[in-house]
Symmetry: C2
Subunit: 351 residues, 2 copies
């Protein structure tokens, strides 16, 4: 066992133990990245995969199609602010939206555990459909498999989404340039803390709900308002830190954050302190960042704030030439720290 002294998280994965899959391989952090680099990229080696974006863009019959896939294994299935059904729609819609695509069609594949209550399945299916309608997407193809009792965990859902990719605009994690501004649409950490509270039976003074929401109209609004959008990312497992670290690495640029500009709700900050968590690493399901050319930052911020899901938007940092590949942060105390990728696994099965 090793401890990452910068973030305070314990890394559960000594190199020698990595001949088996660890929970942390699903965290969206460093271990997930290793798994992609060591196993999947060498095997699949597609240029689309190697760009490590949330969605691929391919050409079919002359049309530019965006495509993305996500499995949802969240526990519990129902949580304050959402459930696995709505999450399975928003997660995939958001992965398309941050690439600038218009989400259109979804597949939905269910892996059920024998004995799973039919009433819960109906409830999830209804929620999934409501979410799809709210996003203007249609479930057009589906699949169901059943595994024996004890070989699954109630319900896993995979959704794969396709949409119309923009013809010209190219958003990609490798396009951040020194001077670009980093915009965030609101306060972080609510999804992770809501799940954790539900799971552990914690009660806070005011209930914390997941921020689970579809970001497609917000993304479209930002893209329409400003020309210099380099890249957008929704912040899910691995939190703000992992998304920024991936962009810093892919763009070979530094990212300098200003902690005082990063919105965190008081209840979330309190819960994080109590639980020893850093909100930068906590999962979100309705938050996104946009990397924006300096001259476009003001109009992009205005567009964000003009959307119900972007009212709390802030410019939280800048892309730098210095410290290429690293994310650094000026803390509220005025000191500087490195914001590393999530090393181990903070909260398994958060999405």
């Amino acid at each position: 066992m090793s401890t990452n002294t910068l973030t305070g998280f314990t890394c559960l994965a000594p190199i020698a133990a990595r001949d088996t899959v660890l929970l942390g391989h699903g965290s969206g952090g460093r271990l997930s990245g290793e798994l992609v680099r060591d196993v999947f990229l060498p095997a699949f080696g597609s240029p689309e995969l190697e760009r490590l974006n949330d969605q691929a863009v391919v050409t079919v019959g002359g049309a530019r199609i965006a495509m993305t896939t996500d499995s949802f294994v969240i526990r519990p299935l129902f949580f304050p602010g959402g459930d696995i059904g709505s999450l399975a729609v928003y997660g995939t819609v958001n992965d398309l939206a941050v690439g600038g695509a218009q989400p259109l069609f979804l597949s939905a594949a269910f892996i059920l555990e024998e004995g799973f209550p039919m009433s819960q399945l109906r409830r999830v299916a209804a929620s999934l459909q409501r979410a799809a309608q709210a996003c203007g997407v249609q479930v057009v193809t589906a699949d169901t498999k059943v595994v024996e009792r004890g070989k699954g965990d109630g319900l896993f859902i995979n959704t794969t989404g396709i949409g119309l990719a923009p013809s010209a605009r190219e958003l990609s994690a490798d396009r951040a340039r020194p001077g670009d501004r980093i915009l965030l649409n609101g306060s972080i950490g609510e999804h992770g803390i809501a799940i954790l509270a539900q799971r552990e039976g914690l009660e806070f003074e005011s209930a914390i709900e997941s921020d689970c929401a579809p970001l497609h109209t917000l993304c479209a609004q930002v893209l329409e308002a400003a020309d210099g959008i380099r890249c957008m990312r929704d912040l899910t497992r691995g939190g703000l830190s992992s998304a920024l670290n991936e962009i810093a690495a892919q763009s070979r640029a530094g990212i300098a954050l200003d902690e005082s500009r990063i919105p965190v709700r008081e209840e979330v900050r309190g819960a994080c302190e109590m639980l020893g968590l850093d909100p930068l690493y906590v999962a979100n399901e309705g938050k996104m960042i946009a990397i924006v050319a300096p001259e476009a930052a003001v109009s992009a911020l205005a567009a964000m704030r003009n959307h119900p899901l972007g009212r709390g938007a802030e410019i939280i940092g800048t892309v730098t030439e210095a410290h290429a590949g690293l994310v650094t942060m000026k803390t509220a105390l005025g000191t500087a720290r490195i914001v590393d990728m999530l090393a181990g696994d903070q909260l398994p099965r958060i999405c």
Copy 2:
């Protein structure tokens, strides 16, 4: 418990018990159909889904896109003739191909159980990639989730495929018309028996391998050779009987089979007799049927037989006006029987 006297299979699902998910809901037979009709269609209610084809066809940016999804939960992961990686490609490629589409791009989503050997994951990824290359499709987007030990079963894979749908030709399960011929590309039951033998440690005189294979070039060849193709289906879980029952129901027509024309390899027939299974219900992964207008049957059969995966092709029956919605069969003994849908679950987790 009720017994289906026509097929000899026991139905494990008394109506009252159907408030929970049963293994049979994943069988591809009657219970799977109930789940789709009772839960998913009412929830999602899309016209594309309601046609109950293996793939949806949607329009994106002016292009006709075919889309299909499948999760693979097969046990064991490695079996004679294939593994979960190759199966995950062929299964999805075949679902596109039988709709007349050209398979192009795949997503691949992995749900791993904590502790799963990394060496097996590499082996599966390599096999998946080899299969994709053999089919001329590219894995362009991927996802990995990890669940705790005891909450999964090693590895589940979802693949979703998109392809170019034919512009004019309309293949659909509701298009069978009286007089149409039913073509089958070869001997049935090999996948199911190979898996069962491996699982139960059975040994036969000559080893039975899964017939797991990509059918896209065979489908294309048949479509090119003949104009009157109404519908094609690959035969997976639920076997030949379920595919034909679905077509009979969707087309409101009868289907009359001639048992003597249905190829079954001697070893498979022997294993089925020993195990009390009916080859009509046993899963395949490289077999397909085509429903063909009478005047096109001879050229379609010739085209099938001209392909390495169709050498053993036969015309196994006819679509009838009588017995609409039912599949009947003239047995080798000259008697007639109804070939019902798979009622319970013959072999869970066959794909």
